[in-house]
Amino acid sequence: MNNKITVSCTKKNLKQIRDFVTEYLAAYTLSDIQMNQIVLAVDEICANLIIHANNEDPSKSISLSITEKAGIVKFEIVDNGVAFRRSEYKEPNIEEHIRVGKKGGVGIALVNRIMDRVEFETTDRQNTCFLYKKIK
């Protein structure tokens, strides 16, 4: 099974990433809600990388590869943009977002709540995000 996709950094390619994840996970028995949650978590990370880390520069790209071992699916998302600084991340206060009319900032919260494990790694200009989820 093809388990890797590379797309250029434009938001229009997010659909392609979601379709790729859906197709890969079709081999497993997942409920609609489980499937949607996993696709969403990957979409959120890729959207952040495309928009924030790579400034929607179509000459840049991100790669996603998926593997499954012992019932745990692992997503590995690689890019060469600005690294995500986890130490600076704060859980959003949604009521405050509503009060001030804030548009962004809830994507990573979704990822953290959906995935079992979320890791970020940076080595010499390459960033990798690892997402793990138990599916059986």
């Binding site: 997010l14 979601r18 959207a47 009319g101 804030k102 979704l110």
Partner: protein
Amino acid sequence: MKITNQIKDTTIIITLDGELDASSSVMLDEALSDPEIMTYSKILVDCKDLNYISSAGLGVFISHLQRFEDAHIKLIFYNMQDKVRNVFEILGLDLLMTIVSDYEEAMTIADE
């Protein structure tokens, strides 16, 4: 993503068809930013054919909610698919926004 509007007296019904992600949510933001929307007393959002929503889509609703509340405009979602409702629930938005099962219920709440 297809967004269509239907007007019934002081109510605007917005029908969402497709997937609301970081790319398509811009269209929704434009639709909700239209000054004309502030002339209605109720905004009903038909989510029957909304197959996907990401944080960008949620963010559009989050960012307009207070403005609608301040203007006493009711924002009500209905016909939402379980997997989409689940995304609202993960963030607790189902407790901060009005989501009902169908059009009839939406109209009843809207008239309260």
